[in-house]
């Protein structure tokens, strides 16, 4: 059996008025790969992520996803209902701000259980058991199952958001600065957690970050974006240790040594 790309992106361009947010982006993401998109604020990386994940419609270009349930699908040609189903079952999306990815008014257990119900689980005891299991996997005390995320710290919320996304065993997870805005020690815990989950669940992922240390730790491949264009791509350690493009060299040399 030949392996096919999980995601094939071709000629993707997105404009806001006269401004081009991303231009002519093309790549294949293969099963099990974690692709990092790096660049400064305004380089177009979050716009690109939103176009890949079907949250934004590109002006031109295509995003083809190899769906486990229905074979090759054109993400932007799907009906709204089917795209929503996809995003709740085979995909995950981890927002930088956990409040955007969680339902703040319902319990932690309900946040995790929601996606299980979306994939057809109806047995309350089973949902609760799986939710408890996932709370443990993201290192939240099990007696917090019935608490709302409003009572959680920023780091706990982020871990809860990760559990909510991964509970349905997605194939592909999009992450937008998953450790942005958190304290360094909290970041380390989340990075370690994500790294373990990605490895053990054989996830494929597209991760947007401006933090090259995060990229080094979590990704296999990198695309470097500047002014909406991909200026360099390759293996993560290649791009960071042997940067070719002037912009990448500038980014890499701007990291403060620790």
């Amino acid at each position: 059996m030949t392996v096919r790309p999980l995601l094939s992106v071709r000629d993707l361009t997105k404009r806001f008025g006269n401004r081009v947010a991303c231009r002519d982006v093309a790549f294949d993401l293969w099963p099990g790969e974690v692709l990092g998109i790096v660049g400064e604020s305004g380089s177009g990386k979050t716009t690109l992520l939103n176009c890949l994940a079907g949250r934004m419609t590109p002006d031109t270009g295509s995003v083809i996803y190899d769906s486990n349930a229905s074979g090759l699908v054109d993400v932007h040609g799907l009906s709204e209902a089917r795209r929503r189903l996809l995003t709740r079952t085979e995909w995950g999306f981890v927002n930088q701000d956990a409040r955007e990815g969680l339902r703040m008014g319902v319990s932690a257990g309900a946040n995790i259980g929601e996606r299980l119900m979306a994939i057809g689980e109806r047995h309350y005891g089973e949902i609760r058991r799986t939710a408890t299991d996932w709370l443990g996997r993201v290192e939240i005390e099990l007696d917090r199952l019935d608490d709302r995320p409003t009572d959680f710290s920023g780091g706990m919320r982020q871990r809860l958001q990760i559990a909510r996304n991964l509970v349905s065993n997605p194939w592909l997870v999009f992450m937008d600065e998953p450790t942005g805005g958190l304290d360094v020690s909290v970041q380390a815990r989340i990075l370690d957690l994500l790294r373990g989950l990605v490895e053990n669940l054989h996830l494929s992922a597209v991760l947007v970050t401006h933090d090259l240390g995060v990229a080094r730790l979590l990704t296999h491949r990198l695309m470097v974006m500047q002014g909406g264009r991909v200026v360099e791509d390759g293996l993560t350690d290649q791009v960071l240790d042997d940067p070719q493009h002037a912009y990448t060299q500038m980014l890499v040399s701007s990291i403060l040594p620790v």
């Binding site: 293969w30 790969e33 380390a188 815990r189 990075l191 370690d192 790294r195 490895e199 080094r216 730790l217 296999h220 491949r221 390759g234 293996l235 350690d237 290649q238 240790d241 042997d242 070719q244 493009h245 002037a246 060299q249 500038m250 040399s253």
Partner: protein, 237 residues
């Protein structure tokens, strides 16, 4: 035995854009072939490009020109210009690299850092852990450290964790960049012993060993690496 690593015409320079596109040639037309059971020691003055050559062989630095062919999954794979997933698969199964520096992963215990490559190749948790503990023991890491993240270890301890991680998977090709730097005599001998075991078991090894005694103990062949500009041009096997 036919070579499992065959390098020809390898050329590499670094272009530094912040210096107005200054080009620093490091390797020119390097050729090299390594067969199973061989250990090739790279020698040459500091700055001759020994580390750059090793990093090119690992796909960490990108070759400007030339070919790096490795025997991988009963086939020959070109690493120069390879797609990331190809290089990653070669690294997972075929090509191990020991560097002087451990990239510390926060919060991961030493024993898991070491076991990871074996798990990726399909070893069971128990088996991977058993081999990791064996290697850590051989390399003189005391058992009470095994469950701690290596971030707080000394330089020499981190290096030995790194060596254990690189040797757990029995890679058919090993690249060693100063594997014994920062180690005391006892631990150095342990590392030499492990390298020789791998070599005698049929691994093809390319390494940089500053310590002449270590080099004499492990190398079957010496390769002079000459800085570009110095003559004769390039490096012959």
């Amino acid at each position: 035995m036919p070579p499992v690593l065959r390098v020809s015409g390898l050329t590499k320079s670094f272009v530094i854009h912040a210096q107005g596109g200054l080009a620093l040639p490091v390797l020119r037309d390097v050729s090299l072939a390594v067969s199973p059971g061989e250990c090739v020691a790279l020698v040459g003055p500091s700055g001759a490009g020994k580390s750059t050559l090793l990093r090119c062989l690992y796909g960490n630095y990108r070759a400007d020109a030339g070919s790096i062919r490795v025997r991988h999954r009963n086939d020959h794979v070109e690493l120069a210009g390879a797609e990331p997933r190809v290089t990653l698969d070669v690294r997972r199964r075929t090509l191990g690299f020991v560097s002087q520096f451990l990239r510390v992963i926060p919060r991961v215990p030493a024993v898991d850092v070491v076991a990871e490559p074996a798990l990726r190749l399909g070893a069971t948790e128990t088996e991977a852990r058993r081999r990791a503990e064996f290697l850590l023991g051989v390399l003189g890491i005391p058992p009470h450290l095994w469950s701690l993240p290596p971030a707080t270890f000394s330089g020499g301890e981190q290096q030995r964790v790194n060596i254990a991680r690189s040797l757990i998977a029995d890679y058919p090709i090993l690249l060693l960049d100063e594997p014994t730097a920062a180690l005391d005599a006892g631990n150095r001998d342990g590392v030499v012993e492990l390298i020789n075991q791998r070599r005698d078991a049929g691994a093809a090894i390319v390494g940089i060993f500053h310590d002449a005694a270590v080099r004499d103990a492990v190398a079957t062949r010496i390769l002079d690496v000459v800085p570009p500009g110095a003559q004769p041009p390039g490096v012959q096997p």
